[in-house]
Amino acid sequence: MSLVWLYAVRHGGADRPPAGPGVDGERPRLVVEGPLVAVVGTVREEEFDEAALARAMEDLDRIERLARAHHAVIVEAAAEEPTAPLRLATVYRDDEAVARMLRERAAEFAQVLERVRDRQEWGVKVYVDAKPEAPAEEPASSGKPGTAYLLRRRADRDRGAQARERARAVADRIDETLAGVAAAAHRMRPQDARLSGRAQEMVLNATYLVDAEAEEGFRAALAAVEADGATVELTGPWPPFSFATLGES
């Protein structure tokens, strides 16, 4: 028995399916329904039914392999047409169920695909030094080491609070500026230092949906923001997946 894994939905046309391989090593196919096309793959039921997927979600290596294959097919599918990716592990019983879903949600798909047409996604991450710099010179101790210690700790604490306040202001300023230029913005939770693999602390983690022709303006806006010594990382252009990902309704 087999199931149908759904990768993405896009507008129809003279379509070739992506070459794959897909999440089960299969070659992706297309399911056409009216103006819409679903990119799907035939996968083994014993590996991809609900119970098997629940088990897979506890296996980090397997999730990673699934996510990479899923993503690769979507990127390939998105090369030419506006494409709405489906979340990982969207599985249907058969092609007829996929076609029915496309019919039922045609208006929603059309809207999403229209939103991302001729637009690209840019990622912006802002980092600041987690540890504020040490004070220049300790005040000479006046024979009161305990008091000096407490005052030093107080200065550390205040410097930390100011640094956090400044970092938050930088993040807000950059986000506001870019959101003003972008068609849509999405601010996510900053990643933990262990995930980002940097010693610096992430204070902004956002993506922006930008008209392809507004790219220069977007870059210029980012360059013009006063970053106050923070490290700004721009990535992209990406296919606008953050603004087109479809969940189960």
Binding site: A130, K131, K144, P145, G146, T147, A148, Y149, L150, L151, R153, R154, R157, G160, A193, R194, E201
Partner: protein
Amino acid sequence: MPELPRRVDAQPDTVGRDLGRLVLTIVELLRQLMERQALRRVDAGDLPDEKIEQLGLGLMRLEEAMVELREHFGLEPGDLNIDLGPLGNLLGPEAGSR
């Protein structure tokens, strides 16, 4: 990432270190809470100078003792900063993480 050991492995060579880490983590948390409270009282300005000196000396010696104990057990400052998942780290980002 630092986590409390699920159980203390009763191997003679590691039990001391695991227990030490657990105890030092709790002591360090209390020390930091005391320090924050002391700083708040200094901020409020209602403490006489000699009381501030006393408090500062006490906290300073406690910190020195913590460093010695930590080194005795071969632990880094970040080892005591337990990851509480969505709540962040027990001792905050400044305490470092493993």
